[in-house]
């Protein structure tokens, strides 16, 4: 072990506070409350997720070997994580051999600094960007802006978010919370060159984006991208996209800077046969996305002649150190779990605070930051399990949520002297339920609740944080006159 590990015994560090977009401003229940009251948001997201669920189900149903593919995806990822250091070293060597330059970033601040210096060295004060979760995670655009470098998002949804001075709310379609009418208004207001007679037809809106970005693409000197996959064996990077903005950024500029989380590496080229089948069907519900680019270092005379790969940790090694949580690193960012999640469908992505929303965000964000910095997220789920069924690499998100809840409770207990009310209740219940005599007495006492019941035999709205949360929208049944165990004893006695 190198000396730098001194001072952090046991575990690698979480993503540090202060830089990036992994932490929200308010707890999930509070953020969700305002989202739930936004009728347009509710309708937009319900419409989009319903559409995509149908498309996904149709194309997944076409493949008789879907379950075997999922299992292979899971095993490939687990294998890779178990040999992550070896594969990263192999990747680095392969990229370097083909004329690329590999950089390592411990955290968001370091990655931002590396990218800024690389852009500066080109003399350019503008970069075109391909949609990338890693650069959103580290807040690269904000950092570049502060350093006097304009970052132009070229993915349609990212452009909508950027022009709308908005935040992304979905992994795949960051502007999923906007409908066509709102997008038209944003374009007319912010784009500058949007035609005055722009309609809200999706094809017209796409055409406006094409015109708006065309000159940028053709004149850009530097591009920043993420990566979907990096093949250790050959050093081949891959970006999976639809619009062609990715191809523009990966092909036309002189310099390409790719920022990639260390977990994106895959062992061999042939392994892409698994992921290229799983990803498009799970994300956009297509058999294959319109464009997938693969490149290896620098190809003389074709594409960028300078290529930099930034390998980002930013809390990932911390996730790797948790045997019950590390499968979150297996995520291929398809968004299928968001699209099937009943919580996401109603609250939208902003309520999660982090750039990673939805079920995968609820397990990934708290692990990247340390659970106490996103303590409400593991509870932002009814544990219905739809995410696990939809995940193309079989990440058991519900079990992981339960694990993180325990981590939060135990961490809270370690940090504070006074136990939370909930903790007292749970311990008391454990004491009561740990013994049948105590339970029998308590269950009988429950009959006192009958005093609260109204004319219809049920209990209506009650004050108080716990019961009040329930009775705000639901009646409680009045407790019965007799518990089951009392009934049982009675009928046994009669025998």
């Amino acid at each position: 072990m190198s000396t730098v590990l001194l001072g952090m015994p046991g575990l690698p560090p979480a993503s540090p506070r202060g830089t990036g977009n992994l932490r929200g401003d308010e707890a999930f229940p509070d953020a969700a409350r305002s989202a739930l009251g936004n009728a347009q948001l509710r309708r937009n997201i319900a419409h989009a997720t319903t559409t995509i669920r149908g498309k996904r189900a149709a194309v997944v149903g076409e493949l008789p070997h879907w379950e075997q593919l999922r299992e292979a995806g899971r095993q490939l990822k687990s294998h890779t994580m178990a040999h992550l250091d070896e594969y990263l070293v192999q990747l680095e060597a392969a990229v370097t051999a083909r004329g690329g330059v590999v950089h390592w970033a411990r955290d968001a601040a370091e990655a931002n600094r590396i990218v800024t210096e690389l852009v500066r060295a080109t003399g350019s004060d503008e970069v075109v960007k391909v949609k990338s979760m890693a650069t959103q995670e580290i807040g690269l655009n904000e950092h570049l802006e502060a350093e006097g470098i304009a970052a132009v998002e070229t993915d349609l949804a990212e452009l909508i978010v950027q022009l709308g001075h908005d935040k992304p709310s979905h992994i795949l379609v960051p502007a999923i919370h906007r409908n066509r009418t709102e997008i038209r208004e944003i374009f007319l207001r912010e784009m500058g060159d949007a035609p005055a007679d722009l309609t809200d037809e999706p094809s017209a809106l796409a055409a406006a984006a094409r015109r708006h970005l065309r000159r940028k693409f053709l004149s850009a000197r530097v591009a920043v991208s993420g990566a979907n996959f990096a093949v250790a064996e050959t050093g081949t990077l891959s970006v999976v996209e639809s619009e062609g903005n990715g191809r523009m950024c990966l092909t036309l500029p002189q310099t390409l800077i790719t920022v990639m989380g260390i977990e994106k590496v895959v062992p061999r080229v042939q392994d892409l046969e698994v992921f290229l089948q799983l990803l498009p069907r799970s994300s956009t519900g297509e058999r294959m996305n319109p464009y997938t680019s693969m490149w290896t270092g620098v190809t003389p005379g074709d594409g960028p002649q300078e290529f930099h790969l930034v390998l980002l940790d930013n809390g990932r090694t911390r996730v790797l150190a948790d045997e019950h949580g590390r499968d979150a690193l297996n995520c291929i960012r398809c968004s299928a779990c968001l699209n099937v999640c009943p919580v996401y469908e109603r609250t939208g992505g902003h309520a999660y605070g982090s750039v990673y929303p939805g079920p995968i965000g609820a397990v990934l964000s708290p692990q990247l930051t340390g659970v106490e910095d996103n303590a409400s997220l593991p509870y932002a789920s009814s544990l219905c399990g739809a995410c696990y069924d939809a995940c193309p690499v079989k990440i058991d998100i519900p079990s992981m949520l339960v694990h993180l809840r325990a981590e939060h409770v135990e961490e809270h207990r370690r940090q504070s002297r006074t136990p939370a009310v909930e903790s007292v209740v749970m311990r008391t219940l454990s004491w009561v339920m740990g013994h049948p005599r105590r339970w029998t007495a308590a269950a009988r006492m429950g009959r006192l609740g009958r005093l609260l019941r109204g004319r219809r035999g049920t209990i209506g709205a009650l004050p108080g944080p716990v019961v009040g949360g329930w009775t705000s929208a639901r009646d409680l049944p009045a407790p019965p006159t007799q518990t089951f165990r009392d009934w049982w004893r009675g009928q046994e006695d009669q025998k």
């Binding site: 072990m1 190198s2 730098v4 590990l5 575990l11 690698p12 560090p13 989009a48 559409t51 070997h65 075997q68 299992e71 292979a72 095993q75 490939l76 687990s78 294998h79 178990a82 992550l84 990263l88 390592w104 970033a105 993915d155 349609l156 379609v173 502007a175 066509r180 999706p202 094809s203 796409a206 055409a207 984006a209 065309r214 053709l218 050959t234 639809s242 619009e243 191809r247 523009m248 990966l250 092909t251 036309l252 062992p267 080229v269 046969e273 089948q277 498009p280 319109p290 464009y291 680019s293 693969m294 490149w295 190809t299 005379g301 074709d302 390998l311 090694t317 911390r318 150190a321 948790d322």
Partner: protein, 219 residues
């Protein structure tokens, strides 16, 4: 705090990975033990011959590519008809394109010396060959070979006429990967450029070519 020293960042990240593996030993999972159970059903359902080509046509059309089937000696006239049909006059070609494919009465812009981006932007169309095509997904793969040229050629012009030889058609993604060399830049194309970013409904026509004509040549 992290120091800006690049070398130490590399050592530190790799050290953290080993630290994580020490803290929670990963389940050993040798590469060769990965269950490739999907391959057998893939092989078992793979089509060949005319059925394979029909599957490809179905998948291409489904994603809004326009397909024209022709014999090997009719590529030139088929390409010419496609260009004429879209009114193309200035047409980009890679240097290695089969001369018999470029019989149309248009202005041919050969990428030698390399065309500028503005020249590409001023062209109406591009004609290329292709490396491998996946029938199951309707995906054409370009590998920057002599009949395809560098990546920018098939990206900037708005109309791509792509010639696919039936002998280059495979059933699935895995088979395509075995035929490809990732040392070359690869572009996998499934239909014209499209987006699902507005209400998660797919619409065609964004930054890449908005028209994709596929000329499918019988073997």
């Amino acid at each position: 705090m992290s120091s800006p020293d690049a070398g130490s960042a590399r050592e530190e990240v790799l050290g953290r990975i080993r630290q994580a593996h020490t803290a929670a030993a990963p389940q050993p999972w040798p590469y060769d033990d990965i269950d490739r159970g999907y391959r057998e059903p893939e092989r078992a359902t793979a089509l060949t011959g005319e059925a394979l080509v029909e599957l490809l046509v179905d998948r291409l059309v489904d994603y809004k590519a326009v397909v024209h089937r022709c014999a090997a000696d009719a590529v030139g006239e088929t390409v010419a008809a496609r260009l004429a049909g879209r009114g193309a006059r200035r047409v980009v070609v890679p240097v290695g394109l089969d001369p018999s494919w470029r019989t149309a009465e248009v202005e041919w812009l050969t990428d030698e010396p390399a065309l500028t981006v503005d020249q590409l932007d001023g062209a109406d169309a591009v004609v290329t060959g292709s490396a491998v095509t996946v029938a199951l997904t309707g995906t054409i793969v370009l590998d920057a070979g002599p009949d395809q040229g560098r990546r920018a050629l098939t990206l900037v012009p708005d109309h791509h006429v792509c010639v696919v030889r039936e002998e280059d058609v495979v059933h699935g993604v895995g088979e395509a990967l075995t035929r490809l060399d990732t040392g070359r830049p690869l572009t996998w194309i499934s239909g014209p450029s499209a987006t699902s970013d507005i209400e998660l409904s797919r619409v065609e026509g964004v930054h890449g070519p908005r028209l994709l004509d596929v000329v499918l040549v019988g073997s």
